[in-house]
Symmetry: C2
Subunit: 200 residues, 2 copies
DNA sequence: CGACGGTGAGAACGCTCGTTCTCACCCGTC
DNA sequence: GACGGGTGAGAACGAGCGTTCTCACCGTCG
């Protein structure tokens, strides 16, 4: 009985799978609706039934990536051992990500560059991602007993690793960022051990 | 006698000034040739005399930004005091940059996102920028007596500050990155002071 | 004085895009 | 067994783009 619904959902999933590959590999503007139709094997008419416009498709693409990215990071964090390892687990995910052959930078940075100035809905989705990702990093760092200032630096290292991996085709950026994070965490730990109060 | 040449150069400068504002504020693809013509006050015909195509204009824009950015960083570095201050001067420039009202992220990251997958000449210009900027950072860090690993972390902090300032509209990103850099430099200095040989 | 090469302003061209429309065709219902 | 709503495939549409062409006009040189 939920047959129609199920096929709608599966067609959305099929479409978003194709959309993901094409949007990410070619860029949002360079990927035409015709390419998306060919990649999804769905008629254009149905694409517009499932999502009202190309912009909505882009937002759905970003949201799906966001949900998966945060889930992946949470999984890595919960698999890690010591509190400091929880923080470093973030870089484990980045390292895994940038080694994927399809890696082509941060989808939200790409969306911001391409469409941020002209498309409010997409800019809002980028904002949403950035806020949630920053909140996650702040939470993980705080749970490990470090200050918000440490979280700021960890976040910058993560962001720098992603963009540097993309722009310089550097496969070592995540490892370098992890190294920087270790230094910062060690320095913060030493401050705590030396009797200094943790930053407020 | 170099009258004709001088006006050509001044028209190129006038055009590049207008191009800079429009490309950077609106994005490369969103900025149409008509907008550039209106902003520059130059007929379309002359624009195509000065630069053969929109792509060439984009490359010229990126190159001009590159030259100015590296010159600005070098100036800040040479104005700084102690060796460690030379490194931190890089963040002084980033801090100045992201506070400009027109700041809208890294032009090369934007170009890479918009056109990297489809335009080899622009991708090459982005590569050129990234290599030279990284070389400059590496040189400044090395001159201050720190290892290449430290330079990697400094570079990531700088890249992270620029992208975070853009995507999160954060005016404090450069200060946070500078804070991270101070921690890393202090840790590296302590290693040196403790008798460890500077990393090769 | 008259011909001419180059100019500015803008129309025109060819193309691509996102989106919608057409039109047979299929399938479940009376 | 006829029928109607929804389907797939693709043409069609209107807009916008980068680029080129038109054309009257001007200053310069022979």
């Amino acid at each position: 009985m939920p047959v129609a619904t199920a096929t709608t959902a599966s067609m959305q999933a099929q479409l978003l799978d194709a959309v993901d590959e094409v949007f990410y590999a070619r860029g949002f503007q360079a990927a035409s609706m015709g390419e998306l139709r060919d990649a999804a094997g769905l008629p254009l008419r149905r694409i517009y039934q499932l999502f009202g416009s190309k912009d909505e498709l882009i937002v759905a693409f970003l949201r799906r990536r966001h949900d998966r990215m945060l889930a992946a990071i949470r999984a890595r964090v919960s698999d890690a051992g010591s509190p400091a390892d929880h923080v470093l687990a973030v870089f484990t995910h980045i390292d895994y990500w940038i080694h994927e052959p399809s890696f082509r930078g941060c989808p939200w940075a790409n969306a911001f560059s391409e469409l941020g100035p002209t498309n409010a809905a997409i800019a809002a989705e980028v904002d949403h991602h950035e806020r949630e990702l920053r909140a996650l990093v702040t939470e993980v760092v705080a749970d490990a007993g470090f200050s918000a200032h440490v979280a700021d630096v960890i976040y910058l290292l993560m962001a720098g690793a992603i963009t540097t991996a993309a722009l310089q085709h550097s496969l070592s950026a995540a490892a370098e960022a992890r190294h920087g994070a270790e230094i910062v965490l060690a320095a913060a730990s030493r401050l705590n051990d030396d009797g200094g109060a943790p930053a407020p």
